[in-house]
């Protein structure tokens, strides 16, 4: 029977199917971070050990400071404690740790691919919803909760029901200045923040094939913002070229064996999907969010909606509530929205390609507002510095920081102040996400750079 890429990978990991139809799946890679302490505590309560420490990797990213790499320099004892707790738990169970001072440290979803831990055909999980990122290599990767993390630690397996399959095709050529972030915000605005709930998405079409590995990572990262279980792109030459000679990638004969397998990881030509969505690449514009959910996104030349014009009462109420929180007037032009600061960072858009793109816009210009640039990993930071990108950001008046989740979630203390408006390359514009009362506008790195230069939301194509 013709089979989808998703089903091929799923079937290869199915140990058994329970009476009620759930599958017990084998897990190839499991990442834990500071927030995974609840799961380690559950193991402790039940005196269980970690089944496969060799398939588990610890990463310090959510709470790490971006001003220092020294643990003892962290003022907040509770923040420091989170990092120490991860060190303690990984050490106790013999798990490899990419810790605060490790030259390979980075945000888990940047580090995995960069180190070659993420490979085609794998089943990967992490107690973090943006684990969907790793699907860019043609693996099934999704976020899980702490109870499931404890289950994977104890058994290296997970119970899951098979989601439905959606193919999201983007055909044609993307106009200049348009990237993966714009594709993602466009489809999420169209289908809704729960529009892909219950589905595994395969991104396909000529525009997707043309994307770099880094752009595919951005696209898959945002799958969860449309509610999807995971997002994948079938591996191809772009994937293989990226992976070759990464530290954890197979070498020599094993590389050849792996490659032969990876090349089979495609949806069959006549495979059936439960849902098909198609976008025309030529119609995608630079897109920004105006509200408090990623579905509340519009092309930059648009206007904030007016609840009085919205037919559906529930929808109108939601728009009114969003505008109220965001401090925006109905019908206001997006390009009239004045910002207070910018943030370039996160697992969505802080890879080398993202930093290069933002720096190209900022070169020789000044940012009208303060802002932070936090590279996705320590390695990205080093590469960016080797290319002089740090100088571009600094000369534009921005702060060049260490790598971590930083202002994406504010757990380390990098916060947007209440009432402040931030143009951000991150993935969530939820109320209070970047700090209590913070107002977030999501957009691509070049659009954040354009906003910085203009001091307001701006169309990068007009700069």
């Amino acid at each position: 029977m013709p089979t989808t890429l998703f089903d091929k990978v799923w079937d290869a990991h199915e140990i058994l199917r329970g009476e009620s139809g759930q599958s017990l799946l084998w897990i190839d890679r499991h990442f834990v971070h500071e927030g995974s302490f609840h799961a380690f505590n559950k193991l402790r309560e039940r005196s269980l050990s970690v089944a496969r420490p060799d398939l588990t990797f610890g990463i310090a990213d959510h709470y790490v400071p971006t001003l220092t790499r020294r643990l003892d320099a962290i003022g907040d004892a509770k923040v420091r404690g989170m990092i120490e707790q991860l060190e303690g738990n990984t050490h106790e169970h013999g798990i490899t740790l990419f810790g605060l001072d490790d030259p390979r440290q980075g945000i888990v979803h940047v580090l995995g691919p960069e180190q070659g831990l993420t490979q085609p055909g794998l089943l990967m999980v992490c107690g973090d919803s943006h684990t969907s990122t790793h699907g860019a290599f043609g693996s099934i990767a999704f976020g899980i909760g702490a109870s499931e993390v404890a289950h994977v630690l104890a058994t290296q397996t997970l119970w899951q029901s098979r989601p439905k399959r959606m193919r999201l095709s983007v055909e044609g050529e993307l106009p200049p200045g348009i990237g993966a972030k714009d594709i993602a915000l466009t489809w999420i605005a169209r289908l809704g923040a729960d529009g892909a709930r219950g589905y595994a998405i395969e991104y396909a079409g000529s525009a997707i094939r043309g994307l770099s590995m880094e752009a595919r990572l951005t696209l898959c990262n945002l799958s969860i913002e449309g509610g999807a279980r995971c997002g994948m792109v079938a591996p191809d030459e772009t994937t293989f070229a990226y992976l070759r000679s990464r530290p954890f990638a197979p070498r020599g004969e094993r590389w050849e064996q792996a490659l032969a397998y990876w090349k089979t990881l495609q949806s069959d030509a006549d495979a059936r999907f439960d849902s098909e969505v198609t976008l025309d690449a030529a119609e995608i514009a630079p897109t920004v969010t105006w509200g408090v959910s990623p579905e509340e996104a519009l092309p930059i030349d648009g206007q904030v909606p007016d609840p009085a014009q919205v037919q559906d009462a529930a929808r109108a109420r939601q728009v009114r509530d969003s505008l109220d929180y965001m401090g925006l007037a109905p019908g206001q032009k997006l390009t009239d929205i004045v910002i207070d600061r910018i943030f370039i960072g996160s697992c969505t858009n802080a890879r080398l390609e993202d930093l290069r793109a933002a720096a190209a816009v900022l070169r020789g210009r000044r940012s009208q507002v303060p802002g932070i640039v936090s590279p996705g990993s320590t390695q990205v930071k080093r590469q960016a510095e080797a290319e002089g990108l740090d100088v571009v950001f600094r000369e534009a008046g921005l702060e060049w920081r260490e790598s971590g989740c930083s202002m994406c979630v504010g757990m380390n203390g990098d916060l947007v102040a209440a009432g402040e408006r931030c143009a951000s390359t991150t993935n969530r514009n939820f109320k209070g996400r970047q700090g209590p009362g913070a107002r977030t506008h999501l957009m691509s790195p070049v659009m954040v750079a354009a906003a910085a230069v203009a001091g307001r939301l701006a169309d990068v194509r007009e700069l």
């Binding site: 140990i15 058994l16 009620s20 139809g21 759930q22 017990l24 084998w26 927030g35 609840h38 505590n41 269980l48 060799d54 398939l55 923040v79 989170m82 490899t96 001072d101 490790d102 030259p103 794998l122 107690g127 919803s129 976020g143 899980i144 909760g145 702490a146 109870s147 499931e148 289950h151 104890a154 058994t155 290296q156 397996t157 119970w159 029901s161 809704g192 923040a193 729960d194 709930r197 509610g227 530290p247 954890f248 197979p250 094993r254 590389w255 064996q257 792996a258 959910s293 529930a314 939601q318 979630v409 504010g410 757990m411 209440a418 969530r428 939820f430 109320k431 209070g432 996400r433 209590p436």
Partner: protein, 210 residues
């Protein structure tokens, strides 16, 4: 885990859509150990104003709200971050069931793993329940076996995945269930490793620590 069969309890209406897990528990509270009780953090920034005072009229600040076991909300409840702490906040507050037209995927499975029932109803039925409760905690019955919700005159059906229903009815825990399959897992892992020799994760050449 405590099984659920029938809940006869007070229900709180929360007439909001997209109540994401960042709202259910803001990130800054996630450093706390569970032993402090996460109920105090539930919907913290909706419950309190900027100076930390309770927002008057917010449903969880109403009399009797602290005795409620059921929450009724609008679509896409629990979307966003995978933080199980969002479920801990609901459970520690006393909730055993959330009724909504749709749930974030990860949230729903976290809920089941903590004995919290995510009951999916149609948009119309959610609206009808919210109307019936009209802004205050009110009595409601959730029957998991029959998959029905009753509030006064109103009786609506809800859906839940059969596996989850079984787990909640019995109070089962996944780790116990899985360990019964230890031998199958061991055989699978051995065969799998043989077929995929390139998956060995022995750390590459030692990189000096900076």
């Amino acid at each position: 885990m405590e099984p659920i069969k029938i809940l006869d309890a007070l229900a709180c209406p929360l007439p909001l859509a997209n109540v994401d897990t960042d709202q259910l528990i803001p990130a800054r509270f996630m450093k706390e150990p569970r032993s402090v009780g996460y109920g105090q953090f539930l919907l913290h920034d909706l419950r309190h104003d900027a100076s930390g005072r309770p927002v008057e009229g917010f449903i969880l600040n109403r009399p009797q709200a602290d005795q409620a076991k059921v929450l009724v909300a609008r679509r896409n409840f629990g979307g966003g971050s995978s933080r199980e702490a969002a479920v801990y906040a609901l459970v520690d507050y006393g909730f055993r069931c959330v009724i909504a037209p749709s749930f974030g995927d990860i949230f729903a499975s976290n809920a089941v793993n903590n004995g919290l029932l995510p009951a999916t109803v149609s948009e119309e039925d959610a609206e009808a329940l919210l109307t019936a409760l009209s802004d205050t905690p009110g009595p409601l019955r959730v029957d998991l076996e029959a998959q029905r919700i009753e509030a006064g005159e109103l009786s609506v059906a809800f859906s839940i995945a059969p596996t989850w229903r079984t787990k909640l009815l019995n109070g089962w825990d996944d780790i116990d269930m899985t360990r019964q399959h230890a031998e199958r897992i061991r055989r699978f892992a051995a065969d799998y490793a043989e077929r995929r020799p390139w998956l060995d994760t022995t750390p590459p050449e030692v990189i000096s620590r900076g």
